[in-house]
């Protein structure tokens, strides 16, 4: 089962999105701040990370930079999620190393399309994290 790490500090957002993803057949693991997100990614090696950008302790940009600097996690696709609808946010997220970007409220079909596209690209890549090579749900 594809494992998605959702890094989100807002409890309601975390609850809502994780429920929706689980209904679609994903395994969802959770982190509540940027540092927690980095630690969880390193220890659990998810297939994909959904990263809120406005996070306490360590913001999403810095957390992504650290994930992309770490050999064990650098190939894990990261999708930035933010409630800001700023065009500059997209560039900032991609600059930090995010592989894609989406805004809240989440349009689930759109987000699922991005998730699947990144998972497919990661599966096609020669050196991906072990679980990412498994079939999508």
């Amino acid at each position: 089962m594809t494992k998605i790490l959702l890094v989100e500090d807002n409890e309601m957002n975390r609850d809502m999105l994780s429920r929706r993803l689980m209904r679609k057949g994903y395994q969802v693991i959770l982190a509540t701040d940027g540092q927690d997100g980095v630690d969880t990614a390193v220890s659990q090696l998810p297939d994909l990370v959904l990263m809120d950008m406005s996070l306490p302790v360590l913001d999403g940009w810095e957390a992504t930079r650290r994930l992309k600097a770490e050999p064990a996690t650098r190939r894990i696709p990261v999708i930035a999620l933010t409630a800001h609808a700023m065009s500059s946010d997209r560039g900032k997220a991609l600059e930090a190393g995010c592989d894609d970007y989406d805004t809240k409220p989440v349009d689930l079909p759109r987000l699922l399309g991005k998730i699947e596209a990144l998972l497919a690209a990661a599966a096609a890549s020669p050196s991906v994290s072990p679980s990412a090579a498994e079939a999508a749900p």
Partner: protein, 536 residues
């Protein structure tokens, strides 16, 4: 819905951008939970509830569209500047590819050439200076003398040079203004030149007017007399630039360009520098500074007005769809037929909608106080001690993990607006809970005093925790300047984290002819104290 959001950048609007973020968060929850309920209902075959749920979802999307549409109606400029266009990124007027064509520069203007030009530029006329300052002169972008070569040689006074060389000065300045993209992209040549020509007239007339030491000192501070209540060319320019989407840095750069154009062209035409030249230069710089000060003031005012109108419209427009969401959610809960997980999901929709109701209420109070002359109150006999207890009971129920101590002494009866006072207290107690350290007690002490002329009730709301930095204390009641960490504030807060809670509390106290003070010390914590005259 399947496309990415449009690219207009709210970063250009610091206040509405934060607001947009804060309002989108509960909206995202309403929409997400509703869609979850729809999916679940379809899975288990409860199709009868789906149409109603889709109405809730549609109301959520309608509010989202309102947010985006209202935002799009704002002028594009922002007082805080566009992070994408830092001042250091701006084209340097001195480096812009607008180097003057030496052949186009008329280095021969003489004082007498201007006399036949237009009346606004007539020498030594203080009236014409005022008239020009009022933006009534020469606004057609040409000037009477444009295109007519002025006569003379070196040693031309700056005023005469400006009058005789408007066209190359304006051409160079316009070329620079066009580099201020994207704002200037859609502007035509008339718009780009708009008030610059009038400003040149103002400056030229000003240079020819005798100026004493006091006037010079005032002008150097941007306080030139004579503007009165009629918009000056520079003020109109500031308003236009705000409307056209220029950032304040771009507008300042325009002035730098105007200054650079004039000085460069003039220096090229001059031979040796005389003391008159230095005097002209000083006064020219002062005149530019004065115009810039006027433009910036008006630019800022224009933005403030548009932001407030934006908020007023937004608050008003959001009420109906929000009410639909909340009513539907409450109706579903009231049936008491919901089972898990629908019960939890619906409760969360109701909770997010309630938070939005507080936000929209705060927005409307804010705009009412800014646009409509204050928050209205209706006094009636009430007991302040009871009002404080009711608020604390409510806040304790909402924060079961926190302790709030209440103490009341003295005479509590008086005439105030009970609903508004409760709102102010809710904001203050909410602020104390939000910023007080976890595990510490928030205290609310109420005392009624009748001592000679002093007949008031005071309420002190105290919390332990990080002190408010002294530099923030002065502006603590300023709207939309929430203290500290927005991540924390995003979770709750009586005014929904719009940074309006303290502002609204202060406005309510003010409407009661009262006052509110704040003290924040490392050893003692933070105390907000409200003093309310008993009968206004």
């Amino acid at each position: 819905m399947s496309a990415d959001p449009p690219g207009r950048d709210p970063a250009r609007h610091p206040v509405p951008a934060a607001l947009l973020h804060d309002l989108r968060t509960p909206l995202a929850q309403i929409i997400g939970y509703t869609e979850l309920l729809v999916e679940r209902a379809q899975d288990v075959g409860e199709e009868t509830t789906v149409p109603d749920l889709k109405k809730v979802s549609a109301a959520g999307y309608r509010m989202l569209a309102l947010l985006e549409e209202n935002f799009a109606s704002l002028p594009a400029a922002a007082a805080g500047g566009d992070p994408a266009m830092a001042p250091s990124d701006l084209p340097d007027p001195a480096d812009s590819a607008v180097s003057p064509d030496p052949d186009s520069v008329d280095s021969s203007a003489q004082s007498d050439s201007a006399d036949s030009a237009d009346s606004a530029d007539s020498a030594d006329s203080a009236d014409s200076a005022d008239s020009a300052r009022a933006g009534h002169v020469d606004g057609d972008g040409k000037g009477g003398e444009d295109g007519a070569p002025a006569a003379g040689g070196k040693g031309v006074r700056l005023a005469d040079f400006i009058v005789g060389n408007r066209e190359p000065i304006l051409a160079e300045w316009e070329a620079f203004a066009r580099t201020c993209t994207p704002a200037s992209g859609a502007m035509d040549i008339v718009a780009l030149r708009d008030h610059a020509n009038a400003m040149l007239s103002v400056i030229a007339a000003d240079l020819r007017t005798h100026q004493g030491g006091h006037a010079q000192a005032e002008k150097s501070k941007g306080n030139a007399p004579g503007a009165g209540h009629v918009a000056t060319a520079a003020e109109e320019h500031g308003a236009d630039r705000a409307e056209s989407g220029f950032t304040v840095e771009q507008m300042v750069s325009e002035y730098r360009a105007l200054r650079a154009s004039v000085i460069r062209l003039w220096a090229k035409a001059q031979g040796e520098v005389t003391s008159d030249d230095l005097d002209d230069l000083t006064r020219f710089n002062e005149a530019i500074d004065q115009s810039l000060a006027e433009s910036v003031t008006r630019y800022t005012q224009e933005l403030d007005d548009s932001k407030e109108m934006f908020l007023a419209i937004l608050g008003h427009d959001m009420r109906t769809p929000l009410s639909a969401v909340l009513t539907s959610a409450r109706f579903m809960l009231d049936t008491q037929e919901l089972e898990e997980p629908s019960l939890t999901l619906t409760s969360r929709i109701a909770s997010s909608a309630t938070r939005m109701v507080h936000m929209v209420g705060a927005l409307l109070d804010f705009t009412r106080s800014r646009l409509g002359g204050g928050i209205p109150i209706e006094r009636a006999a009430m007991n302040m001690g009871k009002a404080v207890h009711d608020v604390v009971d409510e806040m304790s129920a909402a924060h079961p993990d926190r302790d709030i101590d209440v103490d009341a002494r003295g005479e509590m009866e008086g005439e105030w607006d009970c609903a508004r006072i409760s709102q102010a207290l809710t904001n203050l107690v909410g602020n104390a809970l939000e910023h007080g350290s976890p595990g510490t007690v928030v205290t609310v002490e109420t005392s009624g005093d009748r001592d000679g002329d002093r007949d008031e009730v005071s309420i002190a709301v105290h919390n332990h925790g990080p002190v408010i930095p002294p530099e923030q204390l002065g502006g603590i009641f300023h709207p939309m300047k929430p203290r500290g960490d927005r991540h924390k504030a995003a979770t709750d807060g009586p005014s929904g984290n719009l940074g309006l809670g303290l502002y609204i509390a202060e406005r309510i106290v003010n409407a009661h002819n009262g006052r509110i003070t704040v003290e924040s010390l490392e050893a003692e914590g933070t105390t907000f104290t409200v003093h309310l005259p008993r009968h206004g």
